[in-house]
């Protein structure tokens, strides 16, 4: 699976300070660390980029490209910052992201054909995030059709089903899994992508990794193509390279509804099994899900 490094993100305090002070070294250190960890793309999240969007977009892309030649996923809802950054990308970038919202369709989406980028398109519309599989299908069909009309080919579209935190809405976690399964039949040729760590938003920090990793394997099993993820989690990268096949196999059993005898497993195996059951909605989530 393609991994997009998430760690240059404006919500991080280190990053927001670095961006405010135009601290080249701090950003470059994060870029290098993720490159060495094995990221296939680097996500550069600028958030709304209200102040000096044009200068910021350009600065961030240049700063990162000085130390790595990994392709960039440029992440902002500000079309001015987006365009300024896209202009400078040396490798074919990923525009992150557009949606079915009216202003996104008119302000953001046309930048993809203009700069020959690939583009993430989410299921969000002006009505918000669709609550179930059917409404996700409805919204993405509409939005992709609109993108096709702008000359964007399915092959260049990475569909984002929108991952919500398991601590907030367990049902949505399962809906996204189901959506992933049917996506190739709906829109042949499109790729898919998720903001993986969002599944563990709201969960205490030491417990986030196992949620992210388990969900990654589950989504991958249902066909996920790529994830914006914490590539600085070595276990996540190892799993993505095909490491720990026994964990992958266990999660497969759980997803197929087969019985797994917890007594036969080691601590790690039990943790992955418990986590998969929570993500499937079979067990009610609590922050103490690994302890029961």
């Amino acid at each position: 699976m393609i991994l997009i490094g998430e760690n240059i993100h404006i919500i991080s305090k280190v990053v927001s300070e670095a961006v405010r002070n135009r601290d080249t070294a701090a950003i470059q250190a994060l870029a290098k660390a993720q490159a060495e960890a094995g990221a296939d793309y680097l996500d550069l999240n600028m958030g709304p980029a209200r102040k000096d969007p044009e200068e910021l977009g350009a600065w961030l892309v240049q700063t990162v490209q000085e130390v790595t030649d990994i392709a960039i996923s440029l992440d902002t809802m500000n079309p001015v910052a987006m365009e300024a950054g896209l202009k400078l990308c040396r490798k074919r970038p990923l525009l992150n992201s557009a949606s079915g919202k009216a202003d996104s369709k008119t302000g953001m989406m046309p930048l993809a054909p203009k700069y020959n980028t690939q583009i993430i398109i989410s299921v969000i519309t002006d009505r918000g995030c669709p609550p179930d599989v059917d409404s996700r299908v409805e919204s993405i069909m509409d939005t992709v059709a609109y993108a096709n009309g702008l000359g964007i080919k399915n092959e260049d579209i990475w569909v984002d089903p929108i991952i919500l935190p398991v601590s907030a809405d367990q049902k949505q976690v399962r809906e996204a899994l189901e959506f992933m399964k049917i996506l190739p039949d709906l829109l042949p040729g499109v790729k898919s992508v998720v903001g993986l760590s969002n599944v563990s938003n709201g969960t205490p920090a030491p417990l986030r990794g196992i949620l992210n990793r388990t969900y990654m394997l589950m989504l991958e099993r249902n066909g996920l193509y790529s994830a914006i993820a914490d590539v600085l989690d070595p276990e996540l990268v190892e799993l993505n390279k095909g490491g720990m096949p026994e964990v992958r196999e266990l999660i497969g059993h759980i997803m197929e509804g087969e019985t797994v005898n917890a007594g036969d497993l080691d601590e790690k195996g039990r943790s992955y099994v418990k986590t998969a059951r929570v993500l499937l909605g079979e067990t009610l989530y609590s922050h103490a899900w690994l302890e029961s």
């Binding site: 601590s167 079979e282 067990t283 009610l284 989530y285 609590s286 922050h287 103490a288 302890e291 029961s292």
Partner: protein
């Protein structure tokens, strides 16, 4: 051919919690059915009603709910006896006077009072602290020690103080009230943590009860889901009886304080709703509602 109606049955059952000792003990929980679905399976115990008293002379109580008790509120022992006369299955004593924002009565005085009530009133006792987590940890630990072996139901244990409280409760042979702020995930988390210190037969869930018009439907949903998760889906950490501590919540609303009939109805409707949602133990203030809810439980309404 004779028609037999299909019956839903479930794999999970709620643990039975015993409060009090000997022949004055009260049992709650022990059902493998959804609330009041007696036709579906076994319910070892019908829901129970506690009438509430406090150690602060009913300060702040609405005049309408004070009427039946006005001669006895200064003396918790007399007040408790009166509540039993009026039909309560057990008594809920709230240590309102220990509130640091109020009289801030020290732990040992509160503990001595609970001991006195437990000794002089032959009843099972629920003891609620004032709701300040630090003060409660101190007061309720002292209560647990002073009443060692009385098997009180003591709370609220919250995220901030459950560890020392559960330790005191375990050590002195009581049961604990696990309280979380109307959130099913936090409720489960606290149960999981408490289950490391106490068996499920010594825990009762307080998911927080809101009054009609003040978010009662949230309390309803959480109670309903707790039963579904525990009884239908067999989640061990959720197979624990529920206490609905609703009397005080109802009687502090302007609507309840506006008049006798409306006040009694406000509490009665809230109680009836939370009974349907799955409460195993209801804490009420007005004796009319104690009678009414008992009739409802027995199918006589």
């Amino acid at each position: 051919m004779e028609y037999t109606a299909p019956l839903e049955t479930y794999s999970g059952s709620v643990k039975e919690v015993v409060i009090g000792k000997g022949d004055r003990s009260v049992k709650v929980g022990g059902e493998n059915i959804l609330p009041l679905h007696y036709f579906e399976g076994k319910a070892a115990n019908r829901p129970k009603i506690a009438l509430e008293i406090d150690d602060n002379g009913a300060a702040g109580w609405s005049e309408w709910v004070l009427e039946p008790y006005k001669d006895v509120v200064a003396d918790p022992v007399k007040w408790a006896l009166k509540c039993l006369d009026l039909g309560a299955d057990l008594i809920c004593l709230r240590l309102e006077s220990t509130d640091p924002q109020g009289a801030n009565v020290p732990a040992e005085i509160a503990a001595a009072l609970v001991k006195k009530v437990a000794a002089e009133v032959q009843t099972a006792l629920v003891v609620y602290g004032c709701g300040d987590d630090k003060k409660d940890a101190e007061v309720l630990a002292a209560v647990a020690a002073a009443c060692s072996g009385e098997n009180l139901l003591i709370g609220p244990a919250v995220k901030e103080n459950y560890e020392p409280l559960a330790k005191a409760v375990a050590e002195h042979g009581h049961c604990i009230i696990a309280q979380t702020p109307i959130d099913i995930n936090l409720e489960k988390e606290l149960n999981v943590k408490l289950l490391k210190q106490l068996p499920p037969e010594r825990i009762v869930i307080d998911p927080l009860s809101s009054a009609l018009g003040y978010g009662m439907e949230y309390s309803f949903t959480i109670m309903e889901r707790t039963k579904q998760v525990g009884v239908i889906h067999g989640d061990f950490a959720m197979q624990i009886p529920i206490i609905a501590d609703l009397g005080g919540e109802c009687w502090k609303t302007n609507q309840a304080r506006a008049g006798r009939e409306q006040g009694i109805l406000w509490e009665g409707i809230t109680a009836m709703s939370l009974l349907l949602a799955g409460a195993n133990l209801l804490v009420l203030r007005h004796p009319n509602n104690c009678r009414m809810i008992k009739e409802a439980i027995d199918g006589k309404l």
